[in-house]
């Protein structure tokens, strides 16, 4: 296990990273109306300041040798009882810093973008407060040095996600979507809770250092159980099968939220959790296999859903599911894949944020219409949005030299190193990515204009386009930078370990095959959606299209298997409580009441009858005494 370095110099500011946005959230949410005017700017500033500290920390880290890049900071003992102890303590290492930078830098860009996007919303201050809360919770999640504190961040981001999905609370659909997201995430949280408990019972600690230090001494069964529980948690947060159904509904939230939380950062927390716990998954082979299976299933589900949805945000959400499926798959591959899971997470965070913000910019110009069938030919009126969107599009489908090419290719490589089946599935899904993303670009920016009558598309203001441009630049160069200039593999090696296996064929064969598949997918989409006219009303479609539009019946399955039985049980118990338990209580009361009602009849009101019974009683007593005396 790596030694913890004391947090000195810039590293003594680890807690400030979290405290800044948290303070921002507190001021904005509790400050009330008087912060309305300057609040949003404060929200941007706190995140930007955290970003600056993050960059300084990265620079500080680079000056140390790779073994000395893990810094620990303990503030105070948080929860303690008996032998249980969890500290309010942070750990900054090569893995955390990547997340810190992703969260704060992409977060800052999205905050800035929101200044424009939410300019006309009455509750703008609240929006920025909740966005700041999210950033703080997400930073806590990646900086915690033990699982219990991680759990706080884990639920904190869930809370922020809930609040922001249902930000437009007056819409019942938004309120319902937020609730759904929270409750499904809670199912995942059960997994995380139980994993933490099992760790404590097994290792006597929930700290990362302690647990990973002795993990190999536990039985494989225990480790598999912990691994599967962590996977359940990851499924909830990262919208992986079978807990995927909340993510598409989550698109009810404002678009910057979808970009930051439901594309770039929060939904990748599951990947972080698995990679962070790599010691456990490496030792528990079957848990890792389960991770791969879940990843592959979701990779395909997301791609299929993304191919059929006409709602641009939901189509992107399907794509997010699919891309996270890639990351999860990579994380399940073991040391050959951990690094690439994080690499893809990073590039995906950048280009997907760009895509979502681009979609938001399009919606901004189209009266918040999300139906791609009413778009078309927008490249002329939204030059910057179209340009940046297309760059991010090239990145996601994996065209060299954009960043998605490097990261996705690495994952496909690693998959083939593990097993050809996984490799082929991942490769084919890349082809599907080419299809649905091209479909989206073609329907939105090319073809004929199918705008609604009152739509007057226009380019967004600079405050929105500049973040787009920055993200597009990131999507262009980040991949190259991390492969050629700063080697991400050797950077993460101390945390995750790196392993390579010799492949049967030279690597360019895989790269070329993937590229050809992507191009075939793209070409099919181009012919179908750019060359031909797109009907404004969705055609009936094949059974697969209809199933994909229904999100592969995930909601129906949940409803039939969980929701309806729950309410049925609930109503049954209410009935039982009223008639059974309370019925018994009230029944015994009624019995006593009824009995006394009968007895009451003997109070006739005739004094002489009372006297008679008194005499009778006295005679009985005397008789009894006499009898006792005589016997």
């Amino acid at each position: 296990m790596t030694e913890l370095m004391p947090a000195e110099g810039v590293f003594s500011l680890i807690w400030v990273l979290i405290a800044l946005p948290l303070a921002g959230a507190a001021i904005l949410l509790f400050g009330g109306r008087r912060t309305n005017s300057w609040g949003p700017y404060l929200g941007v500033l706190t995140v930007a300041a955290s970003g600056v500290i993050g960059v300084l920390m990265l620079l500080g880290m680079m000056q140390n040798s790779p073994e000395q890049r893990t810094y620990g900071q303990t503030l105070f003992t948080w929860v303690f009882s008996g032998s249980f102890q969890a500290d309010m303590a942070f750990q900054l290492d090569q893995l955390s810093i990547i997340f810190v930078l992703l969260i704060t830098i992409v977060g800052t860009l999205i905050h800035v973008y929101s200044l424009g996007y939410m300019a006309h919303d009455d509750n703008r201050r609240k929006f920025f407060g909740e966005l700041n809360l999210f950033v703080a919770a997400m930073l806590l999640l990646v900086l915690a040095n033990n699982y219990l504190l991680l759990y706080v961040g884990w639920e904190g981001v869930g809370l922020a996600s809930y609040l922001l999905i249902s930000f437009w609370q007056h819409k019942p659909s938004a309120a319902a979507a937020g609730k759904k997201a929270f409750i499904i995430n809670r199912v995942g949280d059960v997994g995380l809770s139980l994993a933490i408990m099992l760790m404590f019972v097994t290792f006597g600690s929930v700290g990362f250092q302690d647990v990973f230090g002795v993990a190999d001494q536990a039985s494989e069964g225990t480790l598999t159980a912990i691994g599967l529980l962590l996977l359940l948690a990851a499924c909830g947060k990262s919208a992986q099968f079978p807990l995927q159904s909340w993510l598409l509904d989550a698109m009810e939230g404002p678009t910057p939220v979808s970009a930051l939380i439901h594309a770039a950062t929060m939904v990748t927390a599951g990947v972080y959790l698995i990679v962070r716990s790599n010691v456990i998954f490496t030792a528990a082979e079957w848990a890792a296999v389960a991770v791969i299976v879940v990843g592959l299933i979701t990779m395909w589900m997301g791609a299929i859903i993304g191919s059929a949805k006409d709602d641009i945000k939901k189509s992107l959400a399907g794509s997010t599911m699919s891309q996270i499926g890639y990351m999860i798959t990579a994380a399940g591959l073991g040391p050959i894949g951990y690094v690439f899971a994080i690499f893809h997470l990073l590039t995906h965070g950048v280009f997907k944020a760009g895509l979502f913000l681009g979609a938001g910019s399009v919606m901004h110009g189209m009266n918040d219409n999300v139906n791609m069938r009413r778009y078309g030919a927008l490249r002329g009126v939204m030059v910057i949005t179209a340009g940046t969107f297309i760059i991010c599009y090239l990145a996601i489908i994996g065209i060299p030299p954009f960043d998605g090419f490097f990261s996705k290719d690495d994952i496909i490589h690693a998959s083939f190193e593990r097993s050809p089946i996984i490799g082929i599935l991942a490769m084919l899904a890349a082809g599907l990515t080419g299809f649905y993303m091209t479909r989206m670009v073609a329907m939105t920016f090319f073809g004929k204009a199918r705008w609604e009558d009152d739509a007057h598309p226009h380019e967004s203001p600079k405050v929105m386009t500049i973040p787009l441009i920055i993200l597009a630049i990131g999507a262009t160069f980040l991949g190259m930078a991390l492969v050629y200039w700063g080697n991400i593999e050797s950077w993460l090696e101390p945390v995750t370990g790196v392993e390579t296996v010799e492949l049967a064929l030279p690597s360019w064969v895989y790269e070329l095959t993937t590229l050809v598949l992507v191009l075939i997918g793209a070409a099919i989409a181009w012919v179908s959606y750019a060359r031909r006219d797109v009907p404004v009303e969705a055609p009936h479609g094949s059974w697969l299209t209809r199933a994909a539009r229904e999100e592969l019946y995930g909601n129906q399955v949940n409803d039939a298997l969980v929701v309806q039985p729950t309410y049925y049980t609930s109503r049954l118990l209410v009935w039982f409580d009223n008639k059974g338990v309370d019925g018994f209580v009230n029944g015994s009361a009624a019995f006593v009441g009824g009995l006394s009602g009968r007895l009451r009849r003997y109070q006739t009101g005739f004094a002489r009858s009372y006297a008679l019974s008194m005499v009778g009683g006295a005679v009985l007593v005397v008789l009894a005494l006499v009898l006792v005396r005589m016997s």
Binding site: S83, K126, L148, S166, H170, R186, S193, D577
Partner: protein
């Protein structure tokens, strides 16, 4: 250690306050409220002063001890003292009383005709005295006296100042509690007799009683009497049905004191009296109690899911939470028991937040507590909705709030001892989230009901009442050491007296690896 009689003073101050309030002339409602608030705040100040002198690491079982003979013939004395558990619960009571007074400022008016304004506030103060007494008593008989006496003010608070069905609810509450108390009285007398047989002189002194080696068969019998009283009070499934009625008919402030503090006497009694005095019986009945607790957790949550009345929903949710508390106590691990005590405090705070916020909401709409009467409140009253959200999150034990620490420790404690029990109980957190958020969704979000348009938001007094609760919920969630520091030693003593030890981890940390499951 000071010799100042802290606890007696603490108990006398609100009593004096209630007499003063009761003696005020009838028409001076405002003055009565001000005087009541003054005495409540004074008590709170004294509590803080006392708590600051409490020594967490003291080797004495009780601190601030006072003892005077009361009925020497039967070994009954006026003995008070607190350990960490008692201290936090006393503090909970004295914190909630001023908040309730402030929040219930306009809950009763002279025109209502049933009871006077001063009467309500005098009753609250009397109740405060009794609550302090019940948590501070170290003589079992004295405890019993306070335990039963508490029923009287609550009976009047529900029966006089409650809603339409108030007398039904009040009588049901009174009879149910009296029935429980009766069994306890029988056990109490039995305990006295047993102590007389074992030591020669009968006693009700708690510490002497814990030292007795009572025959297990007798223990099992006596335990039942105490436990039944506590199970009714707490309330555990299936002795809960008085609670929804009482909660639904009571004023929000009454409900807060009833569920937030009074019901804690049940769980407090279990950890303070049942476990140390009857260790063998506690162990014997633990599976039964755990079963009841588990049923309660799910039963309460499921029933809460379909409630159409807010107050009844809170009552059933409390029942579910009491399941967690009882579970933590009877798994015999230090995490479980510490968690239970933290949970009691957390539940007091979250219940207070829920009932008071809901009360403010209801006061704005003719006192209706039907969920269907509200929708979209967030729009006209965002501050109210915000507090409601915090209360809801506290109720569902969001990590970072005090309730999470309680709930997690309870679940961890249960999981350590009985893996499947802990795992099963953990699933309960999903349903909790479901009913809490469903309530929020139905009342606070969506399009505003036309009749709620223009509803005014929370005002200064109401915000002042809620802010301390919210602040405590958040601050103690991030920094619970002040609580855990005093609770843990007390729990350790309970564990020692029961003779239980925590299970050791299967893979030793840093020490020799035993690897039992390898």
């Amino acid at each position: 250690m000071t010799t100042f009689p802290w606890l007696t003073t603490l108990g006398v101050v609100p009593l004096v306050g209630s007499v003063v309030v009761a003696l005020l002339p009838r028409g001076r409602g405002l003055l009565a409220k001000q005087v009541a608030l003054f005495f409540a705040v004074l008590t709170l100040g004294l509590t803080v002063a006392m708590a600051l002198q409490f020594q967490g690491d003291s080797s004495e079982p009780f601190q601030f001890v006072e003892s005077h003979p009361w009925i020497p013939t039967f070994g009954i004395s006026y003995s008070v003292g607190v350990d960490g558990i008692g201290l936090v619960l006393v503090a909970l009571a004295t914190t909630l009383v001023p908040i309730v007074i402030l929040a219930g400022w306009n809950d009763v008016d002279e025109d209502g005709g049933r009871g006077t304004v001063k009467g309500y506030f005098a009753l609250i103060l009397v109740l405060e005295t009794l609550m302090i007494g019940v948590f501070a008593a170290t003589d079992v008989f004295l405890f019993y006296v306070f335990f039963e006496a508490m029923l009287i003010p609550v009976y009047f608070m529900i029966g006089r100042y409650g809603g339409v069905q108030r007398s039904y609810a009040a009588v049901k509450f009174l009879l149910y509690s009296l029935l429980g108390g009766l069994f306890m009285l029988a056990s109490l007398i039995g305990l006295y007799v047993v102590s007389a047989q074992l030591t020669g002189t009968g006693t009700f002194d708690f510490l002497t009683l814990t030292g007795l080696e009572i025959d297990p068969g007798t223990q099992k019998l006596l335990f039942l009497g105490f436990f039944f009283a506590f199970a009714v009070k707490a309330p555990l499934w299936p002795f809960h049905t008085w609670l929804p009625d009482a909660a639904a008919e009571a004023k929000p402030g009454t409900a807060v004191l009833l569920i937030g503090v009074l019901d804690k006497v049940g769980t407090f009694g279990m950890i303070r009296y049942c476990l140390p005095i009857f260790p063998a019986a506690s162990e014997f009945y633990a599976p039964v109690v755990i079963g009841m607790a588990l049923i309660g957790i799910f039963y309460g949550a499921f029933v809460a899911l379909s409630q159409s009345d807010m107050k009844r929903l809170f009552a059933y949710s409390s029942m579910s939470h009491f399941g967690f508390i009882a579970l933590g106590i009877f798994v015999f691990t230090s995490q479980g028991q510490s968690g239970s005590v933290v949970y009691m405090v957390a539940h007091g705070l979250s219940t207070a937040a829920l009932f008071l916020t809901a009360g403010f909401l209801m006061a704005r709409h003719g006192g209706s507590s039907a969920i269907a009467d509200y929708a979209g409140v967030n729009k006209p009253a965002p501050v109210l909705a915000g507090f409601f959200m915090i209360a809801a999150l506290s109720s569902l034990a969001l990590p970072g709030l005090i309730s999470f620490i309680g709930e997690f420790l309870v679940l961890l404690g249960a999981f350590e001892r009985y893996l499947w029990v802990g795992a099963l109980a953990t699933v309960g957190i999903v349903i909790t989230a479901a009913y809490v958020l469903r309530l929020y969704q139905r009342t606070m979000t969506g399009p505003v009901k036309p009749e709620l348009e223009g509803m005014h938001d929370l005002r200064g007094r109401e915000i002042t009442a809620l802010v301390p609760i919210a602040a405590l919920t958040i601050v103690l969630g991030i920094f619970p050491a002040p609580l855990l520091n005093v609770i843990n030693p007390a729990v350790d003593r309970v564990m020692t007296s029961v003779g239980a030890t925590d299970p050791t981890p299967t893979v030793g940390l840093g020490t020799t690896v035993e690897g039992t499951d390898k």
